[in-house]
Symmetry: C3
Subunit: 319 residues, 3 copies
C-alpha cells in the first residue's frame, strides 16, 4: 500500500498526515467542510451522519482543547463519543498500545481520534488495523509527537481559501518555532500541494530546521524582510514546554525580533490575514493589538476547525 491513508478505491481511509495527500483529496475535504460551517449556524446543530457510531477520543497526552474540538464535531454528527485519557489507566497497567487498540476494536469502535507523544503512533495503529483485517475502523491523527497534526493543517487551508479564494497567487509566511512545530511541515506540504507559489519560513536559526529549504520554501531570519508583501501570515505557537533551554535567549528577546506587532505586520500586504493555531502566548509570539486586530482570523480558524473535523469524520465514516 503506497499511501496507508487511502483505500484501494483512492478514498480517505485514515487521516494521519497531510504529507502525501493528493490535491483532489485535500480539495474534497475543504469542499465537504463548507456546508458544515452552516450547520453550526442552525438552531439545532445536529446531523445524523454518525448516529450509532462509537468514536473514541484516545488521548495518551492531555489536550483538552484538541479533544474538545473533536468531541463537539463528533457529537454534532450524532456519534457516541467516549473519552479515554490513557496516561492514567491501562498504560500504567502495562498494556501495550496495540493491545489497547485491539480491545477497543473488540468493543466495536468505529473511529479513533488519537493524540500521542510518540511520533508515528497513529500510523502504527492504522497499520495494525490493516494487518488484522479491520479496515472498517478509521484513525484520525490528533497530533503525534513533533510529527503531524493534520486537522490543524486542513483548517488552516480552509481558512486561507475562505479569505483568499485562490491559492495560486499567494505569498504565505510561516513564522516562529518551526523546529518544534507539528503543524509547520503539514502546512508547507499542504500549501505546496494546493499550488501556493511562494511559501516563506521566518525564524531564528536555532528554530528553523536545516533541511527546510529542501521543501521548496524560502528561509528568512529577518522578520520584516520575510513579511514583505505576504498575503498570509501563519504564526506558530512558541512551544515553551518542548523547548530545552538554550535555543532562545528569552521570551522578551523573541518577541522583539519575531513577535508579530502592528509595526512589523505593516510590511505585509494591506489585506493580509494573520493566523495562529492557539493557544496564543500574547506578548511572546504575537502582540495583543494584532491578535485582536482586523487582520486576525484566529477565531474563524477555530470555527472552521469544527467544520473540517466534521468533514473528515463524515468522509471516513462514508468510505
Amino acid at each position: 500500500m503506497l499511501n496507508p491513508q487511502l483505500n484501494k478505491h483512492g478514498a480517505l481511509q485514515h487521516l494521519l498526515t497531510i504529507d502525501g495527500l493528493p490535491r483532489e483529496i485535500l480539495s474534497t475535504i475543504l469542499d465537504t467542510a463548507a456546508p458544515f460551517t452552516e450547520v453550526a449556524e442552525r438552531e439545532v446543530k445536529k446531523l445524523p451522519l454518525l448516529r450509532g457510531k462509537s468514536v473514541f477520543n484516545l488521548f495518551f497526552e492531555n489536550s483538552t482543547r484538541t479533544r474538545t474540538t473533536f468531541e463537539i464535531a463528533a457529537k454534532r454528527l450524532s456519534a457516541d463519543v467516549i473519552n479515554l485519557n490513557i496516561s492514567t489507566s491501562s498504560a500504567s497497567k502495562g498494556e501495550s498500545l496495540l493491545d489497547t487498540v485491539d480491545n477497543l476494536c473488540a468493543m466495536q469502535a468505529d473511529m479513533f481520534v488519537v493524540r500521542h507523544a510518540m511520533s508515528g503512533a497513529p500510523f502504527l495503529m492504522a497499520k495494525h488495523l490493516a494487518d488484522t483485517g479491520q479496515e472498517h475502523i478509521h484513525v484520525i491523527n490528533a497530533g503525534d509527537g513533533r510529527h503531524a497534526h493534520p486537522t490543524q493543517g486542513l483548517l488552516d487551508m480552509y481558512t486561507i481559501r475562505h479569505y483568499k479564494k485562490d491559492f495560486t497567487r499567494l505569498v504565505v509566511a510561516i513564522v516562529g518555532d518551526v523546529l518544534h512545530s507539528r503543524v509547520a511541515r503539514s502546512q508547507i506540504s499542504a500549501l505546496t500541494t494546493l499550488g501556493v507559489p511562494e511559501v516563506r519560513v521566518i525564524g531564528p536559526k536555532t528554530l528553523i530546521p536545516a533541511a527546510v529549504d529542501r521543501l521548496g520554501v524560502r528561509v528568512f531570519h529577518d522578520m520584516r524582510a520575510g513579511l514583505k508583501d505576504v498575503d498570509v501570515v501563519m504564526m506558530l505557537r512558541l512551544q515553551n514546554e518542548r523547548m530545552k533551554g538554550a535555543l532562545l535567549p528569552s521570551p522578551q528577546e523573541f518577541f522583539k525580533y519575531y513577535g508579530l506587532t502592528a509595526d512589523k505586520l505593516a510590511c505585509a500586504r494591506a489585506d493580509a490575514i494573520v493566523m495562529h493555531p492557539g493557544p496564543m502566548n500574547r506578548g511572546v509570539e504575537i502582540d495583543s493589538a494584532v491578535a485582536d486586530g482586523r487582520h486576525a482570523v484566529i477565531l474563524p480558524q477555530v470555527t472552521f476547525g469544527i467544520a473540517v473535523r466534521m468533514a473528515v469524520m463524515s468522509m471516513l465514516a462514508g468510505s
Copy 2:
C-alpha cells in the same frame, strides 16, 4: 446596562447572581421549574428543549457534585454537554480566561456553566460576550469564589416555597459559617426580595461578617435564641477547606454551640423544615439524627435543584 443578567427586554440573559434579580424573574424561574420536577418522574426523563445546543461545563475548580447536577439537567434537556476541567489544561499553557472563552464561542457554544475560584469570573465572561456582540451565548454561574452560587440559592427558594407556600409570613434562620459561604448572601437577598419578613443569621462572631446587619437581617450568636419559632432552618456547610485556622476552636466545639441537634431544633416551630446545601459534615454542623430526621428536606433540595437548573437553562436558551 444596569443589570448584566437581563437583556433589553428584561428577560434573563445570564444567571450570575441572585443579588439584584427582580422578584418577577425569581418567581418565573420557580414557576418554570415546577413542571420539570415531573419530568423526572417519567419513564423517559428527556425533553428536546436544548437539542443540538452545546453546553460547556467550564470548571476551573473541581466540583464533581455541582458539575453532575448541571450535566444531568442539560442532558435531560437533550443538549450536547462537554465537560472541561480547565485546571489541568489550557490554563497551564498560559491561555487567559477570555481567550478560552473566545475559543469556545468560536466552536459555537450556546451556554457556559462556570465554576471559578475567582469571584467575578462569570461576570467578566458575560461582559466580554456583550463587548464582542455575542449576546446569544449564555453564562450560568456555578459558584465563583466566595461570591455567589445562584442556582443553589434558587433551589433553596424553590424548596421553601414547596413546603411553606407563602414567603410573606416566614421566619427563616441561616446558621453557621456565613463569612465563607457563597450561598448565604444570595439566600438573604432572595428571601428579602421574595418578601420574607424576618431573616436571621446565627453563628459565632468570627464567622459572621460585620456588615451583615446592613442587609436587614437579625444577628444571633446564641443558637437557641436564634432558632426560636423559626419556620425554616438553613444550615451552611462548614467550609473546612476555606478556613484559615484560628477562626474556630475545633469542629467539636463548633458542634457543641452551633451544630443542629434535635434538642436545639426543638426551639423552632413544630413544622419547621431543615435545609443543607450538602455535602454535609455530619457531627460538625448537623447531627445525623436531624439530617436523616422528619424535619430534613435536604434530599428534596437536590431533586428540586435539577428542576431549577433545567428551568434556568431552558429560559436562557429561549431568550
Copy 3:
C-alpha cells in the same frame, strides 16, 4: 430477603455477585445477551431500551477499561451516562458513600455501576436502597475489592457457551493468581451452577487460597498436569499492584512455571479455548504466541462483554 439481587418476583433487581444466582437467571442473562451481539454489527449500533434513563458510572477506584465497557453498553441502549470519578471529589470533602448515593438518587438516578476498593460496597448500596424504599434504582457491581466482578464472570460464561455449547461435558482450568482475583470465585461458582462437571484450579501454593477445595474444585500445582485434556483454559491476570512482595519469586520465575506457552497448552485438548480477562501481562502469565494464537478467544470475550452488560442493564431496567 434471602438474595438481595432478586426482587420478590424472583427477577434480577441488582447484579452484585454471581455467587448464589440461580441457574435460570444465569441462563436468562446469557440468552438475553445473544441478540445484543448482533446490534454491534449493525450500521446504527443503538437501541432505545434505556432512553431517558440516567446511568451513573460511580468509580471510587480508577478503571478506564471497565468504565468504558459500561459506558459503551449504556450509550448503545440510549441511556444518559454520567461518569463520576469519586476519588478526587466528594470523598475528599468527607461525604460518606451512602450520602453520595442518597444525593444521586435524589437526582433521579436509575442505575449505578459501581467500582469500589472496598469489598461489599455495592451490597451496602443495594441494602441502603431497599432500606429507603428505592427499589426502582439498580446497582451493578463493576468490581469490589477482591470480592466479585460479576459481569466479567458472566461474559466468561457467555464465551464458553458460545464456543463449547454444552457446559455439562467440560473440563475447565482456572490458572494463576486465584488468591488476589475477584473473578476466580465468581467463575467457579458460575461454572458449577451451570453444570460443568470438573473445574480445576492451577497455581503456586502461595496464590491458591487454602479453602478453595471446599468449592468442589481440583487443585493442581503442576501446570502440565492441570491442563491435561481440559476444554477451557481461563488465565487470570497477575495482580502486580495487589501483590505484597514475598508471594512470588519473580515474574520470570512465574512465567517459567505458570505462564501459558504453546508447549504447556499442548497438554490441553486440541480444540481448547484460551481466555484472559485482560489487560494481559504478556510474558508473565501468558506468552504472546498463545495470546495471539488460534486457541485464544480473548478479544471475542471483550465483544461478548459489551453484549452481556447490555443484557444486564436492559433486564434491570425492565424489572
